[in-house]
Amino acid sequence: MSATTAMEVNIEARRILAVSISKLYASRTQRGGLRLHRSLLLSLVMKSARDIYHSSRESEAPSGGLSAPEEPMDTSSSPVLPEPQPEPLSDRNSSETVTEESDSKVEDYDFDTTEEKENLSPARQSRKRRGKASAAPDFLPSKRARLEPGEERYAAPLASCRVRAGESLATLSLNQVIPAF
């Protein structure tokens, strides 16, 4: 792939990701509740876009750090559909969860060495993100560590997750879906 084509694909992928995320945000407030089918399709598009983005970046400027963690991520399914997350999590203490998950995530921060210094800690970032459902700039590529599927950045809003089983799809997906660029 030539450099310019890779870049075009790259830009296209980022744009599609941005559009997808704004759609996910919008679907939270849509009447009739979250549509599972639509959310699934959105997440599939996002996964495609993310994969293509990463592979086009690789062909642009191969960096060893990216390709290795890519594989475990790819073999798993879309990270966007954590609807049962509330169920197992609600059984645990919230602070406990946060500790566990940050421990397991330490190694994940090694992906993109060039951007590591820009990574914020999960707790800080989640506080910033929380409550800003309509903040537009969030969908721009964020300089955060990519999460393994199943991981949560934080476990703060457990109460709301427990109650809103239907909405949890979007609530949690906002945290999980954004990969590191």
Partner: protein, 450 residues
């Protein structure tokens, strides 16, 4: 195919202001269905209302009014509800209507929104008893002392009244949004399908249903596909089919097991790797599946194509029809404006020789399976004066040779989509829902008066 199609009737049954491009959202038609004889046509809308049309009997004395559909009854089927536990509003939009075969003078239909299915009885009353002893004409109780003789009340004719009453409410069985209902050929049971589960009901029992398909994964993060449509086989009461968002169809036999998670047949076309794009998954999601009247074939619709499958061949469809392939290069913009998520339905004609489906710009397409000819027609007020002949339309792809009256892809109106169409079970009469307008077209080719 290629015969002239007369537009005999344009029915504007909801408030559409001709001078403004303004449509009340509640008036948008969300489902259209003929009954088994074609005498009745039901439509459901986003506001939860059902309107039933009845075909006027043909009369030799008034040849021009033969076979027209007029409003028979209107009723509010579903109301908006609120699920307090999940803090979710439940839309009143009617997703599907299915008629039961007629067994007595009354008609029965099932209507469903996202969560609740209702059985409605539609009956006529054209007589009323008169001559009560204890009540007078207005229904007031008479003074007993004024009654000097007894009379037997007699039935006197009255103006026809159509009464609609809810006979059953089938609720609380679906966690996800109901997308289909289908009446079994045994006329005793029916199924309802949501994104992940299919339930079997008995028409007389509302407090219990049997789960016959459950594709919910133990961990929702492993979810890769959802159920998009389901239908019973028209003749074999043990068979049904359901389609998925991955473009697969599964034929299930209820005799095999109580839970039909294991399919009897899996219909899947291998993906063309060269056509891979960001949106491959979305456009391969099947939006509608219909058995042919014979029960031999299946018709499916995905975003760009309609496919006919032979029940005996699982490896690939028998026929593939391009509905609007010119959109293939525009998928990104269609994704942005949400059109790529539109769910088009499809229909067979009575003899299973022609299939029909809708598109954008109020266009709808018909494909003749035998002659391989196809036609694009438009449902619009301008082109459909009563008894006018519909003119075939053409969309020219960008850069293609353009003929007069062709529409270019870029000038298509994507807000005018025909998602719901229905074909009369026996005759060449079609019902087309264009946003909030219902169009009924009849083919008068074989009529004597033509």
């Amino acid at each position: 195919m290629g015969e002239d199609t007369d537009a005999t009737l344009t029915l504007n049954h909801h408030g559409f202001l001709p001078d403004h491009n303004y449509v009340t959202e509640a008036d948008i038609i969300s489902t259209v269905e003929f009954n088994h004889t074609g005498e009745l046509l039901a439509t459901g809308d986003k506001g939860g209302r059902v309107v039933i049309f009845q075909r006027e009997p043909e009369s030799k004395s008034e040849p021009f009014s033969q076979g027209e559909y007029n409003v028979y009854s209107t009723f509010q089927s579903h109301e908006p509800e609120f699920d307090y536990l999940k803090s979710l509003e439940i839309e009143e939009k009617i997703n599907k209507i299915r008629w039961l075969p007629q067994q007595n003078a009354a008609h029965f239909l099932l209507s469903t929104n996202d969560k609740t299915i209702k059985l409605w009885k539609v009956s006529e009353r054209d007589k009323r008893p008169e001559g009560y002893n204890l009540k007078d004409e207005e229904g007031r109780i008479k003074d007993v002392s004024t009654v000097t003789s007894l009379q037997v009340p007699v039935l006197k004719p009255m103006d026809l009244m159509v009464e609609v009453s809810p006979r059953r409410v089938f609720a609380n069985a679906h966690t996800y949004h109901i997308n289909s209902i289908s009446v079994n050929s045994d006329y005793e049971t029916y199924m309802s399908a949501d994104d992940l589960r299919i339930n079997l009901w008995h028409l007389d029992i509302t407090d219990r249903s049997f789960n016959i398909v459950d594709i919910k994964p133990a961990n929702m993060e492993d979810l890769t596909e959802v159920i998009t449509a389901a239908e019973f086989h028209p003749l074999h009461c043990n068979l049904f089919v359901y389609s998925s968002s991955k473009g697969t169809l599964r034929l299930c036999d209820m005799r095999e097991a109580a839970l039909c998670d294991k399919h009897s047949k899996l219909f899947e076309e291998p993906e063309d790797p060269s056509a891979r794009s960001f949106f491959s998954e979305i456009i391969s999601s099947v939006s509608d599946v219909k058995f042919s009247h014979s029960g031999r074939y299946l018709l499916t619709r995905d975003y760009l194509t309609a496919k006919v499958w032979d029940l005996n061949m699982e490896s690939k469809p028998l026929e593939t029809y391009q509905v609007h392939d010119y959109l293939r290069s525009k998928l990104c913009s269609l994704y942005e404006n949400d059109c790529i998520f539109d769910k088009f339905e499809c229909a067979w004609n009575g003899s299973d020789s022609v299939i029909m489906t809708g598109a954008y710009n109020n266009f709808f397409r018909m494909f003749d399976r035998n002659t391989k000819r196809d036609v694009t027609l438009e449902a619009s007020r301008e082109s459909s004066k009563p008894r006018a002949v519909l003119k075939p339309r053409r969309v020219c792809a960008a850069g293609g040779k353009r003929r007069k009256d062709d529409i270019s892809v870029d000038s298509l109106d994507f807000t005018k989509k025909i998602l719901h169409t229905a074909w009369h079970p026996n005759e060449n009469i079609i019902a087309i829902a264009a946003t909030n307008n219902l169009y009924i077209f009849q083919d008068k080719l074989n009529s004597e008066m033509h």
